[in-house]
Amino acid sequence: MTAADLETVYEALAKQLDAIAQDKRDLFLAKLVLLLSHDLDDASQVLSRIRESAANIDV
């Protein structure tokens, strides 16, 4: 993924999050993760990404 592509995704996600009611954002993100995991088709990679994303969360 190019830097430009990453930026496109970043912006789309920000806009979509703003378009969704605050109390539904968790639901939206969880759906997105399930869907992308299905596309990725690699459970062990998803598991390590879950661990990595949890790092530094309280910084």
Binding site: D26, L27, A30, K31, V33, L34, L35, H38
Partner: protein, 535 residues
């Protein structure tokens, strides 16, 4: 519970029998080889399984009739295999409703349709729905004509003491209080087991989130025998509802109480009627309905550490409580009964070593723990215990509206047969096999001629071979030889060549298998399967 004005046994469709205490009283205190406490479905099955092996038993129950209301309604293929081996299946097949399909809905939209494993190689369907009263009635009819079973109703066991070579029971009925010696005791006295209490034993495990009301209603409702699960339906936001069809136009409505909903309030008749009416509205039933019976339960996974205590074996709900939406409560208990019955009989008859009895706990408790693992998954999906589980559950259901793959997370997986993995009497697998069923697994279904492989098995151990030479060296062993052609459906299913063989236990689990069988290997595995030499 039943509607106001109707007694516990005043059913819309079932005539409860009434049983008196024993009239013949001379021999009540005579010693017996096996006593069974509890004539629920598990105790009755154990008595029939012992009689099938030629063992006499006394079956004691405190009540004067069957269990009130229909509790367990889903009977699995493996249970039908057990009932068939006992020769009591015919009335079950006639009465029950077979099913293979489940449908799950989220907010009124179908998100999943699943099929349980089935096919032409299977003699029975994966599941059958039948009310528990009929289960008990059909078992009772077989017991009533079985001279080896002495059934005593209104006979409560109130004491049990160890003796040198058995137990001494105290039994109370309306007329008397007497003692009876038994060489062996099967405690089939249910979730609140007296025997468990008398022995100072406790169930251990977890209580899960979620309390459910089960209500049976009678109505003319046009829907096939398909399990319906309604997640977050309009009639019960935040909760889960299950709907099952039973014979006699009876429908099981099983709904989850909300957090903070008071259980004692929720089981008042008016509250149950209102909740049921809203479920029926949701599933599009607008006609009349009658309320038959209801009850409340929570999802527990509880078991004894050891199902054996000296000469006492715990079978059924006395040994384990499992969440009922796994539909394993009763099915697991029937497998307990079948497992201990043949082992006890073989040991009592000197056909197996006493150590065989120590395989009961690892095999059957192992099966319970497997149910716990599956049921805990279902429980977390049906009633998410924390915010994290709730969010992921809702995400899966919501995603399933547009992407069906996510709906598979709602599959309750009720039908995975259990493999006895940690049994001291099951041989390790032959590494030469790359597929086919492993030792400890139930023998799979496959066709043989016009029938099925299970029809070919003997009453005791069976050796399945694909080559006439092997059995000539084994005719001294206490087993039935089943010779099958090497080019057959069965051989393919068992990954067998002409020199392969399978040793099968009396309960149709595989004891050992060989890609290249030798008489010595068969002999060794048979000795292991009966826990050592008996000579």
């Amino acid at each position: 519970m039943r509607p106001a004005g109707r007694s516990d046994t005043d059913s819309l469709y079932f005539d409860y029998p009434h049983f008196d205490p024993p009239a013949e009283r001379d021999a009540l205190s005579d010693p017996v080889p096996v006593a069974i406490v509890g004539a629920g479905p598990v105790g009755m099955t154990a008595a029939l399984a012992l009689a099938h092996e030629g063992v006499r038993s006394v079956l004691l129950d405190a009540k004067d009739t069957f269990n009130d209301g229909s509790r367990a309604i889903c009977i699995s293929r493996s249970s039908y295999q057990i009932l068939e081996r006992l020769g009591v299946l015919a009335p079950f097949l006639e009465k029950s409703l077979p099913w293979t399909t489940g449908r799950s809905f989220y907010r009124g939209q179908q998100i999943l349709e699943f099929e349980m494993p089935d096919g032409l190689s299977e003699k029975f369907r994966p599941m059958y729905n039948i009310e528990q009263q009929y289960i008990e009635q059909f078992l009772w009819q077989a017991i009533d004509r079985e001279p080896l079973i002495d059934a005593r109703w209104q006979s409560r066991v109130t004491g049990v003491e160890d003796t040198d070579d058995g137990v001494m029971l105290t039994v109370e009925d309306l007329l008397d209080r007497y003692h009876m010696k038994a060489d062996w005791l099967l405690a089939a006295d249910g979730a609140r087991s007296t025997i468990r209490g008398l022995r100072g034993l406790r169930l251990k495990g977890e209580n899960h989130e979620g309390r459910y009301v089960i209500a049976d209603v009678q109505m003319n409702h046009d829907y096939p025998t398909i399990r319906r699960a309604l997640f977050d339906p309009d009639c019960r936001r935040g909760g889960t509802v299950l709907v099952h069809r039973q014979p006699d136009n009876i429908w099981r409505i099983d709904y989850q109480l909300r957090d903070g909903e008071d259980a004692s309030d929720a089981i008042r008749e008016e509250a149950v009627r209102a909740s049921v009416a809203s479920v029926l509205d949701e599933i599009g039933h607008s006609g009349d309905w009658d309320l038959e019976w209801w009850s409340v339960y929570s999802a527990n996974t509880l078991a004894l550490d050891d199902y054996r205590d000296g000469r006492i074996f715990f079978i059924g709900d006395s040994a384990h409580i499992v969440p009922i939406f796994g539909v394993r409560g009763l099915n697991n208990g029937l497998a307990d009964a079948s497992n201990i019955a043949w082992k006890l009989a073989w040991v009592m008859q000197g056909r197996a070593n006493a150590a065989l009895l120590d395989s009961y706990t690892p095999e059957r408790r192992g099966a319970t723990l497997d149910v716990f693992a599956n049921a805990s998954k279902s429980a977390r999906f049906m009633a998410p215990p924390t915010a994290g589980w709730q969010l992921m559950r809702d995400a899966a259901l919501n995603l399933a509206l547009s992407h069906p793959f996510a709906g598979t997370l709602a599959n309750p997986r009720q039908m995975s047969p259990y493999t006895y993995a940690d049994s001291p009497v099951i041989a390790p697998d032959d590494p030469a096999f790359s597929h086919g069923p492993v030792p400890g697994a139930p023998l799979p279904g496959t066709r043989v001629g016009d029938g099925f492989l299970s029809d070919c098995l003997g009453d005791g151990f069976s050796l399945i071979t694909f080559d006439g030479a092997l059995e000539r060296h084994l005719d001294d062993l206490d087993l039935t030889i089943v010779s099958l052609p090497p080019a057959s459906d069965a051989a393919a299913r068992l990954a067998a060549t002409s020199s392969s063989a399978y040793l099968v236990c009396p309960d149709a689990h595989i004891a050992a298998r060989w890609a290249e069988a030798t008489p010595k290997a068969v002999r060794d595995a048979f000795t292991l399967a009966i826990a050592g030499d008996t000579t």
